[in-house]
Amino acid sequence: MTVVAQPEIREASQTTPRSEVARVALVGNPNSGKTSLFNQLTGLNQKVGNFPGVTVDKKTGTCQLSANQKVQIIDLPGTYSLYPKSLDERVIIDLLYDSASAHYPDLVVVTADASNLKRNLLLFTQLADLKIPAILALNMVDVAEQEGVKIDIPALHKGLGVPVIPMNARKGIGVAALKILILQHLEPTPVQFYTVPDALKPVTETIKARFGLDSDYLALHYAHQYKSLKFLSAEEAEWIGALLETHEFKSNVAQADETIARYTYINELLLDVVRVERVEKDEKFSNRLDQVLTHKVFGYLIFMAILFLVFQAIFTWASYPMDMIDQGFTSLNGLIQDNFSGPLINLLTEGIIAGLGGVMVFIPQIAILFAFIAVLEETGYMARVTFMMDKIMRKFGLNGKSVVPLISGVACAVPAVMSARTIENWKDRMITIFVTPLMSCSARIPVYTVLIALVVPETYYFGFLNLQGLVLMALYLIGFLAAIFSALLLKVILKARERSYFIMEFPVYKMPRWKNVGLTIVEKVKAFVFEAGKVIVAISIILWVLASYGPGNSFEKAEQQAIVEAKQQNLSDAELRNLISSHQLEASYAGVIGRTMEPAIEPLGYNWKIGIALLTSFAAREVFVGTMSTIYSIGEEENVSTIKNKLLMEKDKDGEPYFNLARSFSLMIFYLFAMQCVSTLAVVRRETKSWTWPLAQLVYMSGLAYVMAFITYQVLS
């Protein structure tokens, strides 16, 4: 592998204090190997942060160039041009147009797919005309050669005026050469790829004078994009707007002319650089594979099989490590409680450690789901999923890729919401995130099972159709219908900030890069634990305090009353302990809140005891069963049938069973719709980077739950 670039190496005396290359930005088309290169350069030294105002993560990392030199690498979202078509792509212009910004890069590395050089060079020439020092990382040269595309690297280097490094980012070839080049102080290319036409000069010259810019092309971008450049003040933007009006500046026309002019230049340049002796081997392979994988029948069958596998994995396989984490935290708590005691120890064990356990327990599901998703993305199969499902999903305001979050939502909404990240379009992604928690997740199962066992007889139809199973299936179906109809509703309400396009490259099938898969898993788990985890632990502690303390000396009173009652009824020690917990929960702040909200939940058929369960379930739905056990003073170790029997014994004021058909179904419907999951809310906040969405979700889902439970109770009773 030869590096043909011969940049002038400046002498030490010339170097100014800020001469070391400090920041390198990675820019490139989607599928051009940008992420692979980023992973090669930074490895595990990656950090995920936020760009203000957008949902893309800001991925930065450090790269050790030589023994004593490090640079910061920033990975920008993939784009086809410097004219952003989506909100997330705007990050690039915010970074590249404001040379005063603290994040302004000293150098850009442009990744380009060698087998598709023409389209990849469009972005490169735009960047080069901004006069930022650049390196072209020509990726997948070996693949291109197999396809019969031969690239004359020295000629390309001469034509572009910047160093060109042939590489294979997947295998790490060329990375060492790239590191050496980054160390050298590169100048912007002397080549001008596009000259601003004379007709636009009055505009660009005026902008240049006002903002003190050197480059015509940068001034032109100010004119095209003044509305979305964040560093311009309102007054400056207004001034540009007025200027454009007086000069009758037509943005669309100017942009189209520029793109055509650039392609003309690139075509001429490539005449001497690229020789095509088409073999068409790889493409045919991809096409042949597509005939099966996007086939009318087999395509969907294979997709269903893959979804089933993913579903199985996060539902069943993940349960083993999850149980282990759960038991680990429980035994850790037991160990601490056996050896120490006191209110602080209770806070530590039942509040903090239990909250941490509640965060850690999601890690297996997130890791497994993202292992699958990364492989599906890496191989190019995800593009086929979108391709096959787009027509159906679009009707509901969703995206072909929404299928994965929705199905994963049946296991757990937390990883499912995170997986919506693969949807590029802002509106489609928001709708998907919004409706995913309506799918019945596995945490609802304990609630459903207890209540179904309570009121639905175990009848069999045709010998195999179990009535209880049918009811359970109906609940899942209602959840699914609620999700897609809510999506439909949002499609009408939500105003898109950008047009939705499907125009995108249809990638060829590739083998997944395991390093990328591994790094994706690490990144997702880290993001969840450190960002969503904080909120989850905080709310768990608040809920623990509410359930463990009461106003004044109410707890002691509750305990004494329990002891008196226990003596009257001749209860055993274990039963006494359960009775004390039950009375104390009633006397706690949670109990007080439960009683206060009784009038509000009475129309749904609930009393204050259920009110307490609803409140504590806010941390996680499955807590319902535990809280009901405590309220009805059943020990923690008891199984479902004990809880069932205890609940069956509860009578209302007429002596009828309290948990009748109407109440139980009302409760199930409430749990089906209600947003009772702190973890989901925390993860939605992280994914949407605002509190608006999780709060809207909380209000919408809880409102829906209230109305639906009300209707259910009133109709059935």
Binding site: Y80, K85, I503, E505
Partner: protein, 82 residues
Amino acid sequence: MQKREEEHIDKKSVRDLKLGECGIICCLKDPEMGLKLLEMGCLPGTQVKLNSRAPLGDPITIIVNDYTLSLRLDEAETIMLK
């Protein structure tokens, strides 16, 4: 429906291509979407070939400049052919 048929005879778009059929782009109808299509290499004078259709008929993939591009039918409709 009839009016639409007439339009089709006058002006053919990528939407009207048969599987495997090629055409030369003459112009792009929608200025804003046109910018996106231009960037993706759908320039006037370029050859396009209808490569495949999704199982439900929409979206489609076309081959332009030696790579495969996927797009919806209503987007394909804006690419007029000679």
